[in-house]
């Protein structure tokens, strides 16, 4: 009995030691630490003796981009890894922030996630490392998306996602739609026309692309979040009239079976796109590159695609909006922040990388020197059968884009909007009910996270 007690107490002491070790790591003060050792890069160094900076990113042509950077920089080299696209990377980023170690020096992020990481002290304000020198290269909207209060800049933008309506010329021709719809009313009318003639679905309301849904709400005048990082106050506006109108509009199309309800980016959805199940695809400028990569535009679905400007609510005062696009941010775990900022500002900014990106349509560059160049404007898109899509559709859309106010609640907000959109698609609730439910859960969540919620 005594012996058991002795052993038990030894075990307890050992445990306490272990726990102390764990909690010691957990209760470390600021988000400092060291970036992971640069032992396993997906690329080779051009100048192995130069100091190295670790980067996470998922652009399809990232390897080329990194090689281009390393060739041009004798004083710094990138060690790059792709740890997943979008959500997969964010999970790792969030875990590394919580663990206070494991982040790379520079990380690729979408603009809507910056505020979430910034409030956790994970991002460095690169305005003091020369970010404003490149400000002139970007439109006001693009720069707003990466800036915080007081002139802070949290990332160097690379590409954007101005929205447009991609459509199938073969379906439009077959069902007698001579001009693509320019307003959402026309969109619904054309959808009905195609359906009545026994045609395919006109579009798709995917529950798993809440960022697109939000962009469409913003087009109608919604302003989901007003967030003050300094005061920790937030105004949540997810059930105002424009937000409800847009959700009700799509709920109506779903109810009349004019549009599909499939989640996007899945194999099922892509095979539907290839086989002509959907007449239109409302999506961002980077979509053609993605669709090409997934096998769309080859074989039976080649030469049938064209793009038109995003339908409007009020044709007399058009509003443009944006979905996705990424930027490079410097993390607070970076060992040499100045050097990391040099990388964040320089990566994917050289002409060769940008040209490779936009000719393959995997990015829509935000750099004005590209946007204004005649090579870019007059480019005949292979995916859109030679249409000058940049000049006709995407560049005007980008130039008219004003920026979006994001909140630090993005991940949670998207999850709620996705869940409610799925309920709309299942026919269980109306768009307005969905908006109210999202509003209620976001208010509750913001309060539980310690924000002051303004009414």
């Amino acid at each position: 009995m005594k012996r058991n007690a002795l052993v038990a107490s030894i075990a307890a002491i050992a445990l306490a030691g272990l726990l102390a070790a764990c909690s010691g790591g957990g209760s470390g003060t600021d988000a400092k630490g060291t970036s992971p050792k640069l032992t396993s890069c997906s690329n080779k160094y051009v100048y192995p003796k130069a100091p190295q900076v670790s980067v996470w990113g998922w652009y399809p042509n990232m390897k080329l981009v990194v090689d281009n950077f390393n060739k041009l920089h004798k004083d710094v080299q990138i060690c790059w890894n792709n740890v997943g696209q979008g959500g997969d990377e964010y999970t790792k980023v969030q875990t590394a922030i919580s663990a206070k170690k494991g982040l790379p020096d520079v990380v690729m992020l979408e603009a809507d996630h910056l505020a979430t990481y910034e409030i956790q002290g994970a991002l460095v304000d690169i305005s003091k490392y020369g970010a404003n020198k490149v400000k002139g290269n970007f439109s006001e909207g693009a720069w707003n998306d990466v800036s915080g209060a007081g002139g802070a800049v949290y990332a160097a933008p690379v590409d954007g996602g101005p929205l447009a309506m991609i459509y199938r010329t073969d379906v439009f021709k077959k069902y007698g739609i001579t001009t693509p719809p320019t307003t959402w009313d026309e969109y619904a009318a054309d959808a009905k026309k195609v359906k009545d003639a026994g045609g395919p679905l006109f579009g798709d309301f995917g529950a798993n692309v809440p960022a697109l849904t939000m962009a469409l709400q913003i087009q109608k005048g919604a302003n989901p979040f007003t967030y003050d990082a300094a005061k920790k106050t937030i105004k949540i506006n997810l059930n105002d009239q424009p937000s409800k109108d847009v959700l009700d509009y799509w709920a109506g199309l779903v109810k009349d079976k004019l549009v599909g309800t499939a989640d996007q980016f899945t194999t099922d959805y892509i095979s539907g796109v290839v086989s002509g199940k959907y007449a239109t695809y409302v999506s961002a400028a980077w979509a053609p590159g993605y669709l090409t990569g997934a096998g769309v535009g080859k074989g039976s679905s080649s030469g049938v695609w064209a793009v038109a400007p995003l339908p409007q609510w009020d044709a007399s005062s058009p509003v443009q909006t944006n979905w996705g696009g990424s930027a490079f941010a410097v993390t607070s775990q970076a060992t040499d922040k100045k050097l990391a900022a040099e990388v964040a500002l320089g990566i994917y900014a050289d002409p060769a990388s940008l040209k490779d990106g936009w000719t393959n349509q995997v990015i829509f560059p935000l750099n004005q020197s590209i946007l204004k160049s005649s090579a870019f404007l007059d480019n005949k898109s292979a995916f859109f059968s030679g249409q000058t899509a940049n000049k006709d559709v995407y560049v005007p859309a980008e130039n008219a884009y004003k920026g979006i106010n994001y909140s630090p609640l993005t991940v949670y907000f998207y999850a709620q909007l996705q869940a409610q959109s799925a309920l709309i698609n299942q026919g269980k609730i109306t768009g307005s009910q969905a908006a109210d439910a999202v509003q209620a859960s976001l208010e509750k969540y913001a309060q539980s996270q310690g924000f002051t919620v303004q009414k």
Partner: protein, 322 residues
């Protein structure tokens, strides 16, 4: 568990201790002590792994669960607030409700299937049974993630075989992961995966029965149905209780299959579908590690209560834990 270790370690001491007298007794006590120490040495490798990888993380998670962290507030000590919140959280309640109802339907189905197959394979001895046994066991050898991905494709509304069969007669197939069907869609995946494994456990127990009992029963005039249900089933009842507890715990912690099928479920499988998925998303999507720890412990409490209730009602039949 710790008690069991202690019992194991002290047993040899007790049985080998000679009953001498006087100074011999003292020396033997010394030897006893040394032997005891050797006993501890033998379980040390296990104990270290057990403490480092199970007990310590558990205690750390418990420590985490007593704090709250908001994006705007930082970490504060909140005691049992997280637990109160968890048991009042409609997402958690809904998830627990789902896994319990899932267990209530799934486990009997799984048990009946695996027991039936085991009895058949035990009764028939041809070349074919060996092959059949292997084939039925095979799904268990497929990693759960791969199995779920495979079913995701089989369930596909665009190119799944179900759709192709239905389109032959011009109908459109039901989607097995739609909100109305997801219960049975998942049940099918889990049964496919686990029935073979449970079958092997029951089959092994059946093989362990002394065949002379069957002979005695035959002489007494029992037919093969009676042998199966009056002799075989009662004799393997402890194996049945064992797999029931396995299945109960596994089902209440349901995670892998719904997590993998989320992507193809078209929104049916929500981030709070089961308590484990909910805890996972709280931790790794919303960075609420504290609340996720509390949810995990809350689920642990639910599992403990369910298993306790079950063992209480089967205490006469059981025996593997007593």
């Amino acid at each position: 568990m710790a008690n069991a270790d202690a019992a194991l370690a002290s047993k040899p001491v007790r049985t080998t201790g000679p009953s001498g007298a006087g100074s011999y007794k003292k020396r033997s006590k010394l030897r006893e002590q040394r032997r005891g120490r050797v006993g501890w040495l033998f379980i040390a490798p296990f104990a270290v792994v057990f403490v480092v990888f199970l007990v310590a993380p558990l205690l750390y998670a418990f420590y985490l669960s007593l704090y709250s962290k908001g994006l705007a507030t930082g970490t504060t000590f909140t005691g049992i607030d997280n637990y109160v919140k968890a048991f009042q959280d409609p997402s958690f309640q809904k998830g627990v409700g789902f896994v319990i109802s899932f267990a209530v339907v799934l486990i009997p189905v799984q048990m009946i299937i695996s027991l039936a197959i085991a009895l058949v394979l035990d009764a028939i001895t041809t070349m074919f049974t060996r092959f059949a046994r292997l084939m039925i066991f095979l799904p268990y050898a497929v990693p759960a993630v791969i199995g779920a991905l495979m079913w995701g494709f089989l369930y596909s509304p665009t190119f799944g075989p179900l759709q192709q069969i239905f389109s032959l007669v011009g109908a459109s197939a039901p989607f097995p992961l739609s909100p109305d069907n997801v219960f049975f869609g998942l049940m099918n995946v889990v049964t496919w995966q686990w029935a073979g494994y449970y079958m092997i456990i029951i089959y092994a127990a059946l093989r362990g029965i002394d065949p002379t009992i069957y002979e005695a029963a035959k002489i007494d005039g029992a037919n093969s149905w009676q042998v199966a249900f009056r002799i075989k089933v009662p004799l393997v009842s402890s194996a049945l209780v064992l797999i029931l507890v396995f299945a109960l715990i596994g089902t209440l912690q349901f995670f892998t299959e719904p997590k993998i099928l989320t992507l193809v479920s078209n929104g049916t499988i929500t981030p709070d579908f089961t308590p484990n998925i909910y805890a996972y998303n709280q931790a790794f999507s919303y960075s609420n590690f504290n609340y996720a720890s509390a949810l995990s412990f809350a689920l642990g409490i639910v599992v403990f209560i369910c298993v306790y209730i079950f063992l209480f009602f089967t205490r006469k039949r059981g025996g593997f834990l007593s």
